[in-house]
């Protein structure tokens, strides 16, 4: 266990060398408690930082050197933003004193309370926090495997896939058709497909006005639907066609060679095809035994501790968080609430019932933002909406209101990026 040993040695050196003041808050229990966080995305990095501020020694395991943020990646696809604006690094997190372990966690031994890393080394923990995000289910939609994703990008994990979809859209001729398959619930970022459709329509209207956009959906309704559809009619009349589940929108098969999506009622060939496939909690959650048959992770809504494996907490997209959607905003809020609970548990205190907020902003056009908000608290074993709170932006609002929300959307992204990675 070279990792664990190194960390312990470091800690000892620090205790001897550092000024007493720096440690005056740290109790004996804390100093010897080991918390490991897997996943340096919005959920994991937030949780690691909060726990470190509370005085704990933290190891943060992240497989990628650069984190490419998904929020606003739809603007990259539409040519409104460089991919560099999405790239965040854990350097400041590391400088702040968190032991960042740049490796993939491959296994968890819940009995031994140990995380095993790709190079064979391991990290022992008293509490483990998993925030691995999603994995694409390449087994769920016939014909949609990794090879197909290189032809029909999902772009649902930002990075190479985002750039690929951007290139395809750029290369498309005027008069072409962009076809999107949208998944059934639950999935990462419920308004995301419709934000993407909006911004792609914005690009097409500006650069290739004879083109069209077809959304084949496995659902009968979607997040902020009234707002999206009203805006489409206003901004992109006749350009976006949405086919619901009950109108035969569900894609049942993918023919990547023919760039075609198959439904019960027909075949839809696109010039650019974007498949947003079914998803599940990231692989490590399956391996650790914290995911149930749905592929997602049931948790206690107060502590975020797994219902299946004690000592392991799950936050962010991977968790079953009741009414809270799978968003970066939620992952960040859960990261903080989970850190408070873990700190309490390690100090032997009963954690208080948390209250969380989510707000998902979407851009329908660069100067047209809409949002859905909610406040959540534990009820009947799940995180439930506080009644009377939350909801979407008003359906009837002047352009100045939409423009203001577009500004707040960007401000939110800057604020959260700075809070988590700055």
């Amino acid at each position: 266990m070279p990792q664990a040993l190194t960390r312990r040695t470091l800690l000892k050196t620090a205790v001897v060398g550092a000024a007493a003041a720096a440690f005056s808050r740290r109790t004996a229990a804390q100093a010897s408690s080991k918390v490991v966080v897997v996943g340096g995305g919005f959920g994991g990095a937030t949780c690691a930082r909060e726990l470190q501020r509370a005085g704990f020694a933290i190891s943060l395991v992240e497989a990628n050197a650069v984190y490419t943020a998904c929020p606003f990646s739809n603007a990259v696809i539409a040519g409104l933003r460089p991919i560099e604006a999405q790239q965040l690094k854990l350097d400041a997190v590391e400088k702040g004193g968190i032991a960042v372990v740049r490796q993939r966690a491959t296994r968890v031994d819940p009995q031994a309370r140990r995380v095993i890393l790709a190079d064979g080394s391991s990290l022992d923990y008293d509490r483990l926090v998993l925030s691995p995000g999603i994995d694409i289910r390449f087994d769920a939609l016939p014909g949609y495997d990794e090879a197909a994703a290189a032809i029909m990008p999902h772009a649902w994990k930002a990075g190479e896939q985002t750039i690929l979809l951007r290139r395809q859209l750029e290369a498309m001729d005027d008069g072409g058709i962009f076809v999107m398959a949208a998944p059934a619930n639950p999935f990462r970022c419920p308004p995301g497909p419709y934000e993407r459709a909006s911004l792609v329509a914005h690009y097409l209207k500006t650069h290739k006005p004879r083109s069209k956009l077809l959304i084949l959906d496995a659902k009968d309704s979607f997040s902020k639907q009234r707002l999206f559809q009203a805006a489409w009619q206003d901004l992109y009349p006749g350009m976006i066609e949405w086919v619901s589940l009950s109108s035969g929108g569900k894609v049942i098969e993918v023919d990547a060679k023919a760039n075609t999506l198959v439904t019960d009622f027909g075949r839809h060939k696109g010039d650019v095809v974007n498949v947003i496939p079914p998803q599940r909690a990231g692989e490590i959650a399956q391996v650790a035994g914290v995911a149930d048959r749905t592929g997602w992770c049931p948790i206690d809504p107060v502590t975020f501790e797994s219902r299946l494996q004690p000592g392991i907490h799950v936050i962010g997209d991977a968790s079953i968080a009741g009414g809270m959607p799978k968003s970066a905003f939620s992952a960040n809020a859960q990261g903080k609430a989970c850190a408070a609970a873990v700190a309490g548990l390690l100090r032997g205190k009963a954690p208080a019932e948390p209250k969380l907020i989510n707000t998902c902003y979407s851009l329908v056009a660069p100067d047209y933002g809409i949002s859905v908000a909610g406040v959540y608290t534990p009820r009947n074993g799940l995180l439930a909406d506080v009644e009377g709170a939350g909801g979407t932006s008003p359906v009837n609002a002047p352009p100045s209101f939409r423009a203001q929300e577009a500004v707040y959307a960007e401000a939110w992204f800057q604020t959260i990026s700075r809070e988590v990675y700055g």
Binding site: F23, R25, R26, T27, A337, K355, A411, T415
Partner: protein
């Protein structure tokens, strides 16, 4: 061990523990940004925050999103959040 002896002098952490909901505000109200689009709340007088939250809740004060958020918090919760926020650097 040195750490154990220090335990004796550990100050009470109670006032540092954020009340329910308090940490979710900083997702939009980032602290320490002077030219922020959404104003920082850390270090603000608690009365200001409580008053604003009440006005957002009743609709007296126009808002894009705070009306929807403020409705999720009772007066008591808001007071606890405001008091905590006012003590943050």
């Amino acid at each position: 061990m040195a750490v154990a002896t220090m335990t004796v002098t550990v100050p009470a952490m109670a006032q540092n523990v954020a009340p329910p909901g308090a940490t979710a505000c900083s997702g939009c109200h980032g602290p320490g940004i002077s030219d922020a689009v959404v104003p920082p709340l850390h270090g603000r007088p608690p009365g200001e925050i409580v008053g604003a939250m009440q006005d957002f809740r009743t609709g007296q004060r126009p808002a894009t999103v705070m009306d929807r958020i403020a409705k999720g918090f009772t007066d008591e919760e808001t007071r606890a959040i405001a008091s905590w926020l006012s003590q943050q650097p």
